[in-house]
Amino acid sequence: MTPAEIRDEILDILSEITPDEDLSGLVDEKSFREQLELDSMDFLDIVMELRKRHRVQIPEDEYGNLASMASTVAYLEPKMRDIVNA
């Protein structure tokens, strides 16, 4: 998956977790929490969805990398670059 495809995938996951939010104006460099109503259970949902969809394992001490879209994509790129987008 390319960084752009990873970004789309994260957006898709976020749209499931926060169905009431408008994600079109999401700023990649700003933290998710500044822009969306997300709590720790929601971040666990992101981790779980990545695991279910792509078997990507994110260790607990690395959850901090999921703070913003930019940091999430950068963190996931090496883990997901070999995944072929279905």
Binding site: E16, I17, T18, P19, D20, E21, E37, M41, L44, D45, M48, R51, K52
Partner: protein, 419 residues
């Protein structure tokens, strides 16, 4: 000579009245629609499919859930929470309470449930099956969704209520049990306002269908609207339904103070136990429960105008309840009996609360809604006064008695009076 209604002699701060009702039922998402369907003979049972069991029948609720709950919270919570939030919010809105200025720490939430957690547990097992039962795929939402207080807790979260909240597990007697708990807590001054009733999300667990089927107690019929047929000779079991019904209960003194519209007064109640079988009812204990409610309220059986029966459409349960009713109401010529499950199926934890609600408008219109789908009355269920297929106008309706019984032999009775 008429018996003395004991509750009317109690001080106003010990008398408990109903000042709001919110509900969702398979044939109506508010009291007016529900009542209209009951008077028109409109069933809410339809074809339904659920994993593993396949095609079956169920009572399914339709209401605008997003009116009171975000889609995010709906996803995070349970169906029991969602139907409960709808009913509680509607009840508050219809009660005329100045909700914004109510002390939320003095509001108690008491919700009857038949079962809770099965839906989510089944979903998670189904989910991890796709991952070779690797439990690292088990949702972190499972515990908050399945704790037994979940439906009441979701209502508290949604409405910002900080008083006590919990559920009352009482099998199919739970709707009445929720109301009874609310009355007791108000009398004990544990709260100033009670949101009390029952919920059911049971149509979303295949286990309840499969278990009734294995027991030979799951209804089937080519026409879904004819499947739930208590007292009919051809009844063949239960139609499982979802739903919710919440009452705003207040002490009469408080209701008077705010000039509330008082719908009815809860004058008596009783809960007892068969202690004889896991599943089969015991008519002797059921009649003891009805008699206990009557005597506690200082009422003789002839004071009751409408008895809302529990009958679920099983071959043994219906006739056993009729034995109990004959025992208590023998010789009471004016009492009428009806049944709501014939319209909506068995709404489990919500059943008792819904069945009472659908009868309450009779205090105004004096009409006893019918029991539908009785094409051939079972002689064992032929109790005098059973209102069959067509509603019946009565000369007066002052007292309604609501039966609700459940597995493990729990029996509950609530009696309400016109106010």
């Amino acid at each position: 000579m008429s018996s003395v209604d004991r509750t009317s002699q109690m001080p106003d701060d010990q008398r408990v009245v109903i000042t709001g009702i919110g509900l969702t039922s398979p044939n109506g998402h508010n009291l007016e629609m529900f009542r209209e369907s009951l008077l028109a003979g409109q069933s809410g049972v339809r074809n339904y499919n659920i994993r593993y069991v396949g095609d079956t029948l169920a009572g399914v609720c339709e209401f605008e859930a997003t009116k009171y709950q975000s889609r995010r919270d709906m996803r995070r919570g349970t169906r029991a929470g969602t139907v409960g939030i709808w009913a509680a919010s509607e009840a508050v809105q219809r009660s005329g309470l100045d909700w914004a200025n109510i002390d939320k720490s003095r509001v108690g939430i008491y919700i009857g449930v038949t079962e809770h957690g099965n839906v989510e547990t089944e979903n998670e097992i189904y989910n991890i099956k796709q991952f070779d039962y690797d439990t690292t795929y088990w949702s972190h939402h499972h515990n908050p969704r399945t704790v037994a207080n979940n439906p009441a807790g979701e209502i508290a979260l949604n409405m910002g209520i900080t008083g006590p909240h919990y559920t009352i597990g009482a099998a199919c007697a739970a709707g009445n049990a929720g109301i009874i708990q609310g009355v007791q807590m108000l009398r004990l001054q544990e709260c100033d306002l009670a949101i009390a009733g029952g919920v059911s999300e049971s149509i979303h667990t295949f286990g309840i269908f499969a278990s009734f089927k294995s027991q030979g107690a799951l209804a089937s019929h080519a026409d879904p609207t004819k499947a739930s047929r208590p007292f009919d000779i051809d009844r063949n079991g239960i139609v499982v339904s979802e739903g919710a019904c919440m009452y705003i209960l207040e002490r009469l003194s408080d209701a008077k103070k705010r000039s509330a519209n008082i719908i009815a007064e809860v004058v008596s109640y009783a809960i007892n136990t068969d202690a004889t079988d896991f599943v089969l009812p015991n008519p002797e204990r059921q009649s003891q429960c009805v008699n206990l409610a009557l005597s506690r309220g200082g009422l003789t059986p002839d004071r009751i105008d409408i008895v809302s029966t529990h009958a679920t459409g099983t071959s043994s349960g219906d006739s056993q309840e009729c034995i109990a009713l004959r025992n208590v109401f023998q010789g009471c010529e004016s009492v009428r009996f009806n049944n709501t499950k014939s319209f909506i199926g068995h709404a489990m934890g919500a059943a008792g609360a819904l069945e009472l609600a659908g009868n309450l408008p009779a205090f105004q219109d004096r009409v006893c809604h019918a029991t539908i789908n009785v094409d051939n009355l079972d002689p064992e269920c032929a109790i005098p006064g059973l209102v069959i297929n067509q509603p019946q106008e009565l000369p007066k309706v002052d007292y309604i008695l609501n039966n609700s019984f459940g597995m493990l032999g729990i029996n509950s009775v609530v009696i309400v009076r016109k106010f």
